[in-house]
């Protein structure tokens, strides 16, 4: 017996070596040059018992501080019904491979089909793929898709109001893929659409990437934008957190050709940033340009409704070097997560999530204003459940935020500038917690001021 995960007894090994006509396990590697053989153990600890693994992880886990989360910026702390974890833990889902064998993979294929339907409903577009890694790579893939679609044009416009993590990833992909990325300037917290129009005029733009809500939480108004983008023979790509799409105007309604973004907001755990769930939907005419897997409905030999991976000729394992995407997996289990979440919530539940998050965030803004330390950065702009606040205190903002984290157990938003913090209150943040946030700011600010004045 070698390890609890290995079923091989010494007798088994002897029998198997015999069948192979060799003497010992080393003979299996006779073709490996001796100079390459690792004739030592890895410098890795000895095997741990489960109890030791548990203690090890418990210690790691407890070296993190749990905090009441008022941060968003692409990662949202929404509530997840207990049913979801129960379902995604079923090992028929969890331990399955990619559903290449539809006869024994209808479970996976069907939930992807359900997921695709739900995502097209949320984005207001015609077709969805089976999901992408995360929001940033999904938008980067959308950019590559637009460029591939345009063939000769390789320039894309990206709004400066897009979350910088997304901009960074787009730039990385673009840099190596030979795409020129130009940033559309920002004006009063929103995309400068006049500037965009001028930039489009150059005629070499393949795609335009716009966010709403944007990095300040502002809901941007894209009325008329699609016409302008399309007039320039460019594709319009709009990104939004999936949860917000339950209530805000969808990319499809704005006239976008592609919607891509992050669906972690559908109740998924924060998980220190992953796994998340990238989504990507497009108009029907672009379906054969859509990267990733797609599940389609068909019938089986008995005429039964059946689901299969379809349009596989688009994919990397067929197209090889002609592929414009190399993605050959999806976030399968997270797509199931989203499907179960949306099944439980339904249209009403998703509306309530947004309504309550919106009410709580606005309440939070009021409470923060009352502290005298903050004011909304763009008081006239509408927002849903995330908002940029300007800081007017006398203590350094970063020290204040760190103090809130350590001493008050509150993650009070994401600092984006010396005097700017972006906060978010989901439906999980109670009124009491918001009150406590405001009080913590005041109290921490006073304490720090005192310390400063003593020094």
């Amino acid at each position: 017996m070698i390890h609890r995960y290995f079923p091989h007894t010494p007798e088994d090994i002897a029998k198997m070596l015999g069948r192979c006509g060799i003497e010992n396990l080393d003979d299996l590697y006779a073709d490996v040059p001796e100079s390459l053989m690792l004739r030592r153990d890895y410098d890795v600890p000895s095997q741990m018992s489960e109890d030791e693994v548990r203690r090890y992880f418990k210690e790691l886990a407890e070296s993190n501080l749990q905090s009441t989360c008022f941060a968003g910026y692409g990662f949202y702390d929404h509530y997840a019904p207990a049913v979801i974890n129960h379902i995604i833990s079923r090992s028929e889902f969890l331990t399955a491979y990619t559903p290449y064998q539809p006869e024994i993979s209808q479970g996976t294929l069907q939930y992807i089909f359900e997921y695709q339907t739900m995502m097209t409903e949320l984005t207001g577009l015609d077709v969805s793929n089976a999901s992408m890694y995360d929001g940033t790579t999904a938008v980067a893939e959308a950019v590559m898709m637009a460029v591939a679609n345009a063939r000769k044009r390789n320039r894309v416009l990206v709004s400066s109001t897009l979350n910088y993590l997304y901009v960074d990833v787009i730039n990385t992909y673009a840099r190596y893929h030979g795409i020129v990325v130009d940033m559309i300037p920002e004006k009063d917290g929103v995309t400068d659409l006049d500037a965009m129009e001028q930039m489009l005029a150059s005629g070499d733009v393949a795609g335009v990437v716009l966010p709403s809500p944007n990095c300040y939480g502002i809901l941007e108004d894209y009325t008329g934008v699609a016409d302008k983008v399309h007039a320039a023979k460019s594709l319009l790509i709009i990104t939004a957190p999936a949860s917000a799409l339950g209530v805000i105007k969808s990319p499809g309604e704005w006239g976008a050709d592609i919607a891509a973004g992050e669906a972690q907001s559908l109740g998924m755990p924060l998980n220190f940033g992953g796994p998340n769930l990238g989504y990507m939907c497009c108009v029907k005419s672009l379906i054969r340009k859509l990267p990733g897997r797609i599940v389609g409905a068909t019938t089986d030999a008995d005429g039964k409704r059946t689901f299969v991976l379809t349009l596989q000729a688009r994919e990397q394992h067929i197209r090889r070097e002609k592929a414009t995407s190399n993605i050959c997996s999806n976030q399968g289990l997270m797509a199931l997560y989203a499907a179960v979440y949306l099944s439980l919530m339904g249209p009403e539940g998703l509306r309530e999530v947004n309504e309550i998050s919106c009410a709580r965030t606005h309440y939070m803004v009021r409470k923060l204003e009352e502290t005298g330390l903050f004011e909304p950065m763009f008081p006239e702009r509408p927002y849903l459940c995330e908002v940029a606040m300007r800081y007017n205190g006398t203590v350094d903002l970063d020290i204040l935020l760190q103090t809130l984290c350590v001493d008050y157990g509150v993650l009070a938003g994401v600092q984006t500038d010396d005097d700017c913090v972006v906060l978010c209150a989901t439906e999980k943040r109670t009124v009491e917690e918001i009150d406590a946030l405001a009080e913590a700011f005041v109290s921490a600010h006073n304490d720090l001021k005192d310390i400063n004045s003593q020094n």
Binding site: H3, F6, P7, H8, L25, Y42, P45, Q47, E50, Y56, E62, N64, S67, P81, S91, F93, L94, T95, Y97, P99, E103, S105, Q106, G107, T108, I112, E114, T117, T120, G124, D134, Y176, D221, V247, F272, G273, P275, I287, G296, A297, T299, D300, T306, T310, Q312, H317, R320, E321, T324, N326, G332, L333, L344, M345, P347, E348, L350, N354, Q402, V414
Partner: protein
């Protein structure tokens, strides 16, 4: 109840949730209506008991590692330990927001850093990034590292990637996405790269050579020291596709073979569950001297008053950011738990036992199935269909007939080197009894091919659905429920 889509169960007014009231003033109605959704949102409306039953029953139409044996070549479908699931879902990890101050996430950063270190030791590399989300994403990242390296030397002419003709489809695709041109190098009859064919391709336009080792036919590329020397001599870098790392666990390290950059599929070699397609994880490792090109953010550590402090940095020379944060963190935790559970004792045996399992199957079936490359294989090997080509039974037929016996199909029609490729990889977590019953079924199928070929041709017979019409699906794609309703 098979076949119902969740939308079929929907009825207006049902719901599977309850939320307590906001307890503060409504705000959403003050948002200008022009910014709000106009089209009705057609999501299912279902009660909680119905949702649970729906997905529970649906799951039973699925095959997984916990259900049975997956002899799936190049996919390393090993057992996924349950303790790893528990460790990855500890609330003190699951609840962490990426933007928490670094001193409040020291445990998480340490976990990342530990896994980096363990992978570096196992791969024989200097440093790993865990940020890539999957194997293909790792390939892309690795190629970007290579481009960033050449760029840093202002070595701009290197626009080609050489890949063997047996390579995984993602290799050329990743090269294309990274803006590189793909050049194929052919294999020798024994499945290894033809060194003499490679030599003339290597010049100052080559950015990298991508290889797997063992390769996709399960053969160790014994010329690898020579190849590495040639590649380095021309100024290119040698990339290791980690999809086939499993048989080398405990035996030999890519870094020692001369590879400069590599990726590892945590969902293969390190047992994180495939989840029906993801989330995976594709860490990328580099040899000393290439660390600065790894993607941002990177984790570093300083000693501070005897304590280690982990922190994040963005480096100028980095290839840039390729993911929103630090990759699929919860997947990384599972791999860490796996490596610690195996320990050096377990890791040392994983590769040899996986290799033993593969050779055992190969030797037990070679009289009936055509073995185009007759050598000791590593974790996997390829049959080129049946020995007896007179039966008309194809690899596809064999694969489907296996489903009737409770086995997943092998990988079929890959690699492209053979017409009837049937690629088998058993992994080290399968017992001799399981292998024997697989062998028995494979022998039965060979017999059926001779005696009752129609039984094989019409397979599968016992699966929840049979012979779906792929052509119809592709011809007129129906990809949403509402499309289906209209159809």
């Amino acid at each position: 109840l098979y076949g119902e889509v969740i939308f079929d169960l929907s009825k207006p007014g049902r719901r599977g949730y309850y939320m307590s009231p906001a307890g503060c003033e409504d705000a959403i109605s003050s948002i200008p209506s022009g910014l709000m959704r106009q089209r009705p949102l057609r999501l299912p409306e279902v009660d909680e008991p119905a949702v649970v039953r729906h997905y529970t029953n649906m799951s039973t139409n699925n095959f997984g590692v916990d259900t049975g044996f997956y002899p799936l070549g190049s996919c390393t479908m090993k057992y996924n330990p349950k303790i790893n699931e528990e460790m990855a879902s500890l609330a003190e990890f699951a609840g962490l927001h990426p933007f928490q101050p670094i001193f409040s996430v020291q445990g998480a950063l340490k976990a990342y850093h530990e896994l980096q270190g363990l992978l570096s030791e196992i791969g024989g590399m200097s440093e790993f990034t865990l940020n890539p989300y999957a194997g293909a994403h790792g390939e892309l990242t690795g190629l970007m590292v290579i481009r960033a390296y050449h760029d840093s030397r202002n070595d701009k002419a290197r626009v080609k990637v050489i890949v063997p003709d047996s390579a995984h489809g993602t290799n050329p695709a990743s090269a294309a996405v990274a803006g590189l041109q793909v050049v194929q190098v052919k294999s020798l009859p024994d499945g290894t790269v033809d060194v003499e064919a490679l030599r003339p391709l290597l010049d100052e336009t080559v950015a990298a050579v991508m290889m797997t080792n063992p390769n996709t036919v399960g053969i160790f590329e014994h010329n690898i020291p020579v190849i590495a020397e040639m590649v380095h001599a021309c100024g290119a870098l040698l990339y290791y596709d980690g999809a086939n790392l499993n048989p080398m666990l405990g035996v030999a390290r890519p870094g020692d073979m001369g590879f400069d950059v590599m990726h590892i599929n945590l969902h293969k070699t390190f047992s994180t569950p495939h989840g029906g397609g993801g989330p995976g994880s594709g860490p990328v490792g580099v040899r000393a001297g290439l660390e600065e090109f790894l993607p941002n953010p990177r984790i570093k550590v300083v000693e501070h008053e005897g304590q280690k402090l982990y922190y994040l940095t963005d480096e100028e020379s980095s290839l840039g950011r390729i993911s929103s944060w630090l990759g699929n963190f919860a997947v990384e935790l599972r791999a860490l738990a796996y490596i610690l559970s195996l320990g050096k004792e377990g890791l040392k045996m994983a590769g040899p036992l996986a290799t033993l399992n593969a050779n055992y199957i190969k030797e037990s079936l070679r009289d009936l199935y055509l073995l185009p490359i007759d050598r000791v294989c590593k974790h996997e090997f390829v049959f080129d269909g049946l020995v007896d080509k007179s039966t008309g039974i194809t690899t596809l037929n064999i694969a489907k007939r296996l489903l009737d016996h409770g086995f997943h199909a092998p990988t079929i029609y890959f690699p492209l080197l053979f017409h009837e490729s049937l690629m088998i990889e058993p992994t080290e977590t399968e017992s001799i009894e399981t292998l024997d019953s697989f062998i028995e079924v494979m022998r039965d199928i060979a017999r059926e091919a001779r005696e009752t070929p129609d039984v094989v041709k019409d397979a599968p017979h016992l699966t929840p659905v049979r012979k779906p019409d792929d052509t119809a699906a592709a011809l007129n794609p129906v990809v949403t429920y509402f499309q289906l309703q209209q159809a």
